[in-house]
C-alpha cells in the first residue's frame, strides 16, 4: 500500500502544477493586458492616461515578466490567496469563494448522495429482473438520463414545480447551519436535477457490473449452501459489484461540477458556478482563474481519493 500511495501521490502533485501553468498561460497570454481591460472596460470605451495605465500595471504586477507573475500567483495560491477581483477592486477573490464554495459543495454532496441512493437499487433490480419489464423501464430511464442535457432537465423541474406546486426558486439563500430544513428545501430540487444524469449513468454501471458478478462461481456457491437471496445479493454480489461504480463516480464528479454551473444559474443558487458565469460576463480574470483552478483541484482530489479507495478495496491494484 505504501508504494502505491507514493506512486499515486507522485502523479497528483505534478498534474496540479501543470494545471496551474495551463490556466496561467491561457489567462495571461490570450486576453492581453488586464490593466487595459480594467481601464478601458470590457467594450474598450473608457478613457485613461499612460500614467494611469502604468500605475495600474505596477499595482497589478503585470509589468513584470510572466514567470515572476506566475511565481507570485502560485505562492499566493499555496497560501490560499487568489489576489483581488478585477471588477470589485480591493475585494479579495478568496472572500467571495469562502462565501460561495460551501453552497456548491453542499449541492454536489447532496446530488451525489441522491444518485447513490437511487442508482444502486435501480441497478440491482434491473440486473436481477433482466429482460423483464423492470429492466426495460430502467433502460428507458438510463438512456434518457444519459442523453438529456442537465440544464434542460433543470428547466423542466423548475417549470413543473412552478406550474403545479407553486414553488419558485428562492431569492434568498438560507444557510445550512441557521435553518437546515429550509436550506434543504432550497437545495433538494437543484440536487435532484443535477443528480439525474449521474443517477442514470451509475445505475447503468451497477447493472452491468451486477450482471457480471452474478455469473461468478462464488454466487452459485452461496446459493448452493442455502443462503437467502437477499443475503446473496447484498452481502456477496453487490459488495463486489460496487468497485466499478466507485470508479465511475470519480469521473462523473467532473461532469457534476460542470453541471452545477448550469443548475445554479437556473435555480438561483448563489454558489461558485453563478460567480463563474458572472465573472465571465465582466471578464474578471482573477476570479475566473481562481475558480477553474479550484474546480480542477477538486476533480484531481476526488480522483485521488477514489483511486486510493480502489486500491484499499482491491488488493490486485495495491500489489500489482
Amino acid at each position: 500500500m505504501g508504494t502505491y500511495l507514493i506512486k499515486r501521490l507522485g502523479l497528483f502533485v505534478p498534474t496540479l502544477v501543470l494545471v496551474s501553468i495551463i490556466i496561467f498561460v491561457v489567462m495571461r497570454i490570450v486576453p492581453g493586458d488586464p490593466a487595459l481591460l480594467i481601464l478601458a472596460g470590457t467594450e474598450g470605451e473608457g478613457e485613461y492616461t499612460e500614467q494611469q495605465l502604468h500605475e495600474l500595471r505596477v499595482s497589478l504586477g503585470t509589468d513584470k515578466p510572466i514567470y515572476t507573475q506566475y511565481g507570485k500567483w502560485i505562492w499566493g495560491v499555496v497560501r490560499g490567496d487568489f489576489g483581488e477581483s478585477f471588477w470589485y477592486r480591493g475585494v479579495p477573490v478568496m472572500d467571495e469563494i469562502k462565501k460561495r464554495f460551501p453552497i456548491t459543495f453542499e449541492l454536489a454532496v447532496l446530488s451525489i448522495l441522491i444518485s447513490f441512493i437511487l442508482s444502486v437499487p435501480i441497478g440491482v433490480i434491473t440486473a436481477v429482473k433482466i429482460d423483464k419489464w423492470p429492466d426495460y423501464l430502467g433502460k428507458a430511464f438510463t438512456i434518457s438520463g444519459v442523453a438529456l442535457p442537465t440544464f434542460w432537465v433543470a428547466i423542466l423541474v423548475v417549470f413543473v414545480l412552478a406550474r403545479f406546486f407553486n414553488w419558485l426558486p428562492p431569492l434568498n439563500y438560507t444557510n445550512l447551519w441557521e435553518d437546515p430544513i429550509s436550506n434543504l428545501q432550497q437545495l433538494i430540487f437543484p440536487a435532484l436535477a443535477l443528480g439525474f444524469n449521474n443517477t442514470a449513468f451509475q445505475a447503468r454501471v451497477t447493472r452491468s457490473s451486477m450482471l457480471e458478478v452474478l455469473r461468478e462461481d462464488y454466487i452459485r456457491t452461496a446459493r448452493a449452501k442455502g443462503l437467502g437471496e437477499s443475503l446473496v445479493l447484498f452481502r456477496h454480489a453487490l459488495k463486489n459489484a460496487f468497485l466499478p461504480v466507485i470508479t465511475v463516480s470519480g469521473w462523473q464528479f467532473s461532469r457534476l461540477l460542470g453541471g452545477a454551473v448550469l443548475v445554479e444559474i437556473i435555480f438561483l443558487v448563489p454558489g461558485t458556478g453563478q460567480l463563474l458565469v458572472d465573472s465571465v460576463a465582466v471578464r474578471d480574470f482573477n476570479v475566473i482563474q481562481a475558480l477553474i483552478f479550484l474546480a480542477a483541484f477538486m476533480v484531481l482530489t476526488i480522483n485521488l481519493i477514489v483511486d486510493l479507495m480502489y486500491g484499499w478495496l482491491n488488493p490486485k491494484v495495491r500489489y500489482g
Binding site: F151, I155, V277, I292
Partner: protein, 302 residues
C-alpha cells in the same frame, strides 16, 4: 450420387458484380438489420442535417422577425410550434438553430478528434519523453470539467462561432488522445509495423501510412460518441450566454430565453428546443453505440 447433384444445384450460378454502390447499400442494409436502433439514429441525424442545410427553404418564417401581436402565441394557433417572448416563430428558430448546433458540433469534433487522434498516435509511436509529456498534459486537461473549461476559454476568446469551435476542440481533444494512444500502442507492436521499419520506412512514414489508417475505426467511433457531448457543451455555453452571439438562433440560446422570460406561462418555449436537443443527442448516442459494436472490438463493453 443424388446428394452430390443437389449440392451442385445449390451452388450460386452467377455472383452479381459487386460495384462500390452495391457494397455500400449492402453494408447499410446489413447494419440496419443488425442494429436497428443505430440505423434509426443515423436516419434521424441525416434528416436533421438535411433540415439544417436547407433551412432557408424549409423554415416557414424568418427566424429573427418579431411578429409583435403573436408574442407567446400557443402552438398551433398562429405558429405551428408557437411564438416566443417577442413573437418569433419557434419552429423556424429551431430549424435555423439546427445549423449552429450541428455545424459547430461536426466541425469541432472533426478537427478536435483528428488532432487528438494524431497526437495519440504520435505519443504512442515515439514513447518515452514525448509520451510522458503528452500524457501528463492530457491528465491536466482532463482535470477541467468540460463546461467550466469551455466557459473560461470563451471568456478569454470572446463569443463567436469560430471561437466556440476552437474552445470545443480544446475541450474535446484530450480524451481522444488517451483512447487512441491505447490502441496505437497495440498497433505499434504489429508485424506490419516491424516490416515497414525493416524495409527502411521513416518514422513519419510509418505513422501516416500504417498507424493512422489503422486507427480509423476507433476515430469514427470516438467522433460519433463525442459529437453528442460537443452538442451538449455548445448548447450549454450558448445557454449561459457565452457561446454564439445572441442574435444567432441556437437551441441553447432559445432555452436561455425561455428560462429567463416566462417559466410558468409558456412551456412551449422551453419544451421544443429541449426536444430538438435531446433528439439529436439520442440519435447520436444510438448511432455511436451501434458503430462501436460493429466497428470497434477495442471499445466494446467500455
Amino acid at each position: 450420387m443424388a446428394r452430390q447433384r443437389s449440392a451442385e444445384q445449390e451452388l450460386p450460378q452467377e455472383r452479381p458484380v459487386l460495384t462500390p454502390t452495391l457494397v455500400t447499400i449492402r453494408a447499410a442494409l446489413n447494419f440496419s438489420k443488425k442494429k436497428p436502433l443505430g440505423a434509426f439514429g443515423a436516419i434521424v441525424l441525416a434528416v436533421m442535417v438535411i433540415i439544417a442545410v436547407f433551412a432557408p427553404w424549409i423554415a416557414p418564417f424568418d427566424p429573427s422577425e418579431p411578429y409583435v401581436e403573436r408574442t407567446f402565441s400557443a402552438p398551433g394557433t398562429e405558429f405551428l410550434l408557437g411564438g416566443d417572448q417577442i413573437g418569433r416563430d419557434i419552429l423556424s428558430r429551431l430549424i435555423y438553430g439546427a445549423r449552429i448546433s450541428l455545424f459547430v458540433g461536426l466541425v469541432s469534433v472533426t478537427i478536435g478528434i483528428s488532432l487528438g487522434s494524431l497526437l495519440g498516435v504520435i505519443s504512442a509511436y515515439f514513447g518515452s519523453k514525448i509520451d510522458l509529456v503528452v500524457q501528463r498534459l492530457v491528465d491536466a486537461f482532463l482535470a477541467f470539467p468540460a463546461i467550466i473549461l469551455g466557459l473560461t476559454l470563451m471568456a478569454v476568446l470572446g463569443s463567436s462561432v469560430t471561437n466556440i469551435i476552437i474552445a470545443l476542440c480544446i475541450v474535446l481533444a484530450p480524451g481522444s488522445i488517451r483512447t487512441v494512444r491505447s490502441q496505437a500502442l497495440a498497433i505499434k507492436e504489429m508485424d506490419y509495423v516491424l516490416a515497414a521499419r525493416a524495409i527502411g520506412a521513416s518514422d513519419w512514414g510509418i505513422i501516416f501510412r500504417h498507424m493512422v489508417p489503422n486507427c480509423f475505426a476507433i476515430f469514427i467511433v470516438l467522433a460519433t460518441i463525442t459529437l453528442g457531448l460537443a452538442i451538449i457543451v455548445e448548447s450549454s455555453l450558448s445557454f449561459l450566454g457565452v457561446g454564439v452571439p445572441p442574435n444567432v438562433p441556437t437551441w441553447g440560446g432559445m432555452l436561455s430565453d425561455a428560462a429567463y422570460t416566462d417559466i410558468g406561462g409558456a412551456p412551449w418555449l422551453s419544451i421544443f428546443p429541449g426536444i430538438a436537443l435531446a433528439l439529436a443527442v439520442f440519435a447520436i448516442n444510438f448511432l455511436g453505440d451501434a458503430m462501436r459494436d460493429v466497428l470497434d472490438p477495442w471499445l466494446r463493453g467500455r
